[in-house]
Subunit: 367 residues, 2 copies
């Protein structure tokens, strides 16, 4: 593991000092912001998410705000998912595509009011993208990066912590729905969401000067449930089949290749970006699909920075896009982006960094 | 210094293994790719660039290729600098702006032929940007990320190494001009360019499978001049007044604020993105400007991840956007982005991480 050299090109999150105090040991860079990836104890951090409750600095999920009379129009133009039924206070998971139907992000869209939306984005410059489309189409909408920085509370005990923080009303929040509120005077949006399958909430802090204060309030409220620091957890997300845009996708990946077809509404208007390409791709059927792989062997075999080639009968059929030791399955598992000729149950061989390893393809998720 | 957690979202460069072998100790992330930032010996690495020759993995300077009958048209639409006089084989430094005249990148544009251009980009998703504009304007041009990965040779002895590698013709390459060639069968473009003021070349490797091979060929050819590994050097670039997009700029920065006004041609056509805003900004005069600062004190005082506020007479007038120990000036220096009310010669106080430090503003570059 190598060091990260500091510069102002990589932004600290509002929770940066709090995570340093909590003992963060490694980061990744996401939307030009440092995101904690570990606090030195991978296995306890994993089980805390599975069995308890964990607090995460996910400020790097930056918000791209659309505001103005044409905000709804622009939101739909950018989203090949039908937003006509999206209500104020509701979030929607959106596979965002370019004109060729290539996936360029997979944000959560939050509808704050009829003229204000946030795209809570994965790791790519959607500010650029949305602003380019808005300006080129002459829409009356301001596209900006507001001062909003999510902190996630994830795990089966997250709801208890959220109730302690906000009161019983959070129990009534449906999945991806949200509400604007304050906590000790700190302005925020509280949503039932988060990048795990263990349940929880995201607190969209709306005043970056108060990051440490919010971190500590959550930590204090969570003590009865033994809350501790964590982060979007590679082991959990692979077991749960969650997609990582940019990690599991390349510059040719369309939503149908990575299990996102159900979020595409082909009947949306023709001015929605990518919809014509997506209709064609849907009609022809994708050439690749995303399958899981369970490896032989009983020792952890960590993944590096690059995709690893997958072979079947001596021919390259795809790539391994991530791999991790599954604490629950007690084997190495990963995602492949692979020819549709390869099917669940097939045996394949992967050229891992250290050696060739055999595995069996399967449907996702693992758990 | 914290560790970087590996994932396929952060790409390794084609030179990654070679830099690991060479003893890289830290990285930054730039265009979703790891870029080495040090090999464990900062001061010798600095003097190697000033007095000798250094080889750098700058594969993270990704290329956005425009190809097709409308490539020239799109290149000009994206560039508020007049390209009508740009010849095949010539490169141009381009402040690239959005519709509001905000700087969104500062690439080198390489004109490969009348229908093919590369933008050798700083750290932002220009692929998205260029593709959005091309599609929205219905231009016949393909926007892609080709397999091109620069390796820089920088320092006063770089020309001698380039001659040893390629022959005497490289001496005739003018600044920012380039030529397509091969080296031991490896396809590449050789340009006289690089992110230092010490002179040198960039080898745009066009086959990522041959990164280690190219790194080793350069290393072997450079031995008579004691070549060694290096990287875009923070100390040298601050002394030399080189701008770091995203580090020294924010979401409101226009080219006039950061000494790039000379690269804007206000008479370009009205369909060039941002030109109308730039004309207005130019007429009104910018509100901020970029000045150097020389600090009091004789001990290195490193910069972190965030801008630091600059005060004059107790009022915040701007930000310190970088700071570094100057080995040649033997003091701490940095860049400010500051109100035009503050002028060279003024004394200001900066709230550094550890304490308040006084400094004197000056014109850039320092050296």
């Amino acid at each position: 593991m190598f060091g990260i050299f500091p510069s102002a090109r990589l932004k600290p999150s509002p929770y940066y000092q709090a995570t340093v105090t909590a003992g963060v040991t490694s980061f990744t860079v996401y939307n030009n912001m440092l995101m904690p990836t570990g606090y030195g104890n991978p296995e306890p951090e994993y089980w805390r998410i599975i069995n308890g409750v964990s607090q995460w600095d996910v400020a790097c999920e930056r918000q791209v705000q659309l505001r103005g009379p044409d905000a709804s129009k622009l939101a739909q133009i950018l989203s090949p998912r039908d937003l006509s039924i999206c209500k104020v206070g509701q979030g929607k998971y959106i596979p965002m595509c370019n004109h060729d139907g290539v996936l360029i992000n997979d944000p959560i869209l939050l509808k704050l009011d009829e003229e204000r939306y946030w795209f809570s984005i994965a790791d790519s410059n959607i500010w650029f993208w949305a602003a380019a489309i808005a300006a080129e189409r002459g829409l009356k909408v301001e596209v900006s990066h507001p001062d909003v920085s999510p902190l996630a509370i994830q795990g089966p005990k997250a709801e208890a912590v959220a109730v302690a923080l906000f009161g019983d009303w959070v129990k009534d929040l449906k999945y991806f729905w949200f509400k604007e509120t304050t906590l000790h005077g700190i302005p925020m949006v509280v949503a039932r969401s988060g990048w795990s399958k263990q349940g929880g909430f995201e607190l969209y802090l709306m005043d970056s000067a108060r990051g440490t204060e919010l971190w500590n309030i959550v930590n204090e409220a969570g003590k009865p449930w033994d809350i501790g620091p964590g982060n979007p957890n590679l082991h959990e997300r692979v077991e749960s089949g969650l997609l990582s845009y940019g990690g599991d996708t390349d510059q040719h990946t369309n939503p149908y290749e990575v299990r996102l077809g159900k979020y595409i509404d082909l009947q949306v208007a023709d001015d929605v970006i990518g919809i014509q390409a997506l209709r064609r791709i849907h009609a022809e059927g994708p050439k690749r699909h995303q399958l899981g792989i369970k490896f032989e062997g009983d020792q952890p075999n960590p993944f590096g920075f690059a995709w690893e080639p997958v072979f079947q009968h001596g021919i390259k059929v795809g790539d391994l896009t991530n791999a991790v030791w599954s604490y629950r399955l007690q084997c190495n598992i990963g995602f492949t982006l692979i020819s549709t000729r390869a099917q669940p149950g097939d045996t394949v061989e992967v050229q891992r960094a250290s050696s060739w390893v055999r595995g069996t393809l399967c449907e996702l998720p693992f758990l």
